[in-house]
Symmetry: C2
Subunit: 341 residues, 2 copies
């Protein structure tokens, strides 16, 4: 895989956004006014007062879904409901996760629950999840039934991953394997679905569907590793969150668990630091970041991310599809695993 | 409609529970352990520690779904996934509603969120909602696609109703019409779906489906009125909640709004009482109950409930179905609108 980092949003993502945004907007327009208001804000279409904003989010997952339909040589129109449904499930999970995790910032803006309240935001997530199931089954469901099933399974996997994440916050004996499994469920499953649901929707053969899902799952894990690294060593401007917020919340991210389970003196010191009952000072947080690095957690995460991207690329080269579709998939994989935005 | 109140659980409900419980248990067994634990407790299958309990809940909605398949002369087996899915959506909404409403008791037991925490309970609700969509589309989806669509629409309507309910708590100018619309969405829509989804699943003609949905919607409103009345004048043993808890939380239930909008001296006194910023004493709560009665809110709700049951019965007599199925539907309608349990 080439080490060059695409500097801007890949064209496939921009193109998919143009295709998908009208579908998403029509879907969200069906919602009751209370949940629609929260959804429009969360999707970046409106400010807290409901005034329209010029541009929405990036629609990475729909872009992958559209590519997967093109990989299968199918009609792109037919996969748009599935692509929009994936984005709705993604939006649902972010709305609920921010409440559960107490995260107050999302994409450089106050998280929806801090603006509209917890109850309204739980409800808005529920509404988007339901809407996803709904738009998949209309107007003509052949192929989309399989897509709906795939999305349900991915959603349950995502929920199971978030459940483990909550559990891990209370445990101090999380193994690296457990942590990888959690990330695979929480991040990998929906990306695997995004990368294969368009193909499912247009009736692609099983080997193509599973190859694309494999590509998505591995890319998802690479993305999670990159995200965890950014959470410690990224700038707040890039992440849209306060500096070192993951460490402040003592989240068991992958580099942290790699350091904690490294059996190194630095790893042991990190464990003692994170086990302290009092809040961590700025100096503590900087110490923690240094100890993760010293214990090898940073290097492990960087190597593992590269390895996952290699495996993802192999899935892609083994699957039969037009060369330009493969190139666009790769472009997106590189983009989201090296994102500096 | 006969005024006789069936003293025990109608046979159709008991029979449906036997049919549906294995389907529900198989579905819940697919969940990840974290959300499954919350779901099992909420469904009455386990105690907080996860130890099995002898019996689960009543499965009223699945009973209605099974009846609706029989009304259409269809194979009951085919509608079981749809019947179980309705119960899963019901369970999801109760889990989330109790968090939003701050209700600490549910069916005479501590609400799930007080046992397992808010985050875990949000997640368990999400998991049950997803599971509902999933089981509907397997193993052979013809007919079930229509059922899945109907359930999605009902779920969104239920969510919209809960949104209004949250909004009404902050408003003091809720009209009776608005309140009826909210109850129709929050309670009527899922019962309308329960009463027609089995028929949809077995491919019934449209007039039967819409007649059954009309019966369910009106029964749902009658049920909500009965429930609101019980919330004020029912015994805590019957409701499983602390005495006068709806009034304590200043919920805008139907009899309360009827009293507030009655333009009577008692209604005005009630408005002033509920507008006070300090918590209501036991004496205040008893006063409030008396004022609702004096302002005609209780009588209005009783009359309206009877009227809705009459309309429900008319829907039922206009729809073509075997006589014994019609009788069983009626039996359940009477049971749930006069419940003293």
């Amino acid at each position: 895989m080439t080490p060059t980092v695409p500097p801007t949003v890949p064209p496939a993502v921009a193109a998919a956004r143009t295709l998908i945004e009208p579908v998403l907007r029509r879907a969200v327009a069906r919602l009751d006014p209370i949940t629609a208001r929260v959804a429009r804000y969360h999707l970046g279409w409106a400010d807290p007062a409901g005034r329209p904003l010029p541009a929405g989010g990036k629609a990475l997952r729909p872009a992958l879904a559209v590519l997967s339909a093109r990989a299968a040589g199918g009609n792109v129109e037919r996969c748009l409901p599935a692509a929009a449904a994936v984005e709705l499930v993604h939006a649902f999970s972010l709305l609920h996760d921010d409440i559960m995790d107490g995260d107050r910032m999302r994409r450089h803006r106050p998280a929806a629950w801090t603006v509209f309240g917890r109850s309204e935001t739980i409800l808005a997530g529920d509404a988007l999840l339901t809407l996803a199931g709904e738009i998949l089954l209309e107007p003509e469901p052949s192929g989309l039934v399989e897509a709906a099933r795939s999305l349900s399974l991915a959603t349950r996997s995502l929920i199971a991953g978030q459940g483990l994440d909550l559990e891990f916050e209370r445990r101090d004996d999380v193994s690296l394997d457990e942590c990888l499994r959690m990330s695979t469920q929480k991040t990998g499953s929906l990306l695997a679905c995004a990368c294969s649901i368009g193909a499912l929707a247009v009736g692609a053969p099983a080997p193509l569907v599973s190859g694309l899902a494999g590509f998505g799952a591995e890319t998802g894990l690479a993305f999670q590793l990159a995200d965890d690294l950014l959470g410690v060593w990224g700038s707040p401007e890039a992440t849209g969150k306060p500096v070192l917020s993951d460490l402040r919340a003592r989240k068991k991210t992958l580099p942290v668990v790699a350091a904690l389970t490294s059996r190194t003196p630095a790893g042991d010191r990190l464990a003692r630091l994170l086990a302290r009952s009092e809040p961590l000072s700025e100096a503590d947080l900087r110490d923690a970041a240094r100890l993760i690095d010293e214990a090898g957690g940073r290097a492990w995460a960087e190597t593992e991310a590269k390895h996952r991207l290699d495996v993802a690329e192999r899935h892609l080269s083994d699957a039969e599809m037009p060369a330009e579709v493969r190139a666009e998939f790769l472009d997106i994989a590189l983009f989201i695993t090296s994102r500096d935005h």
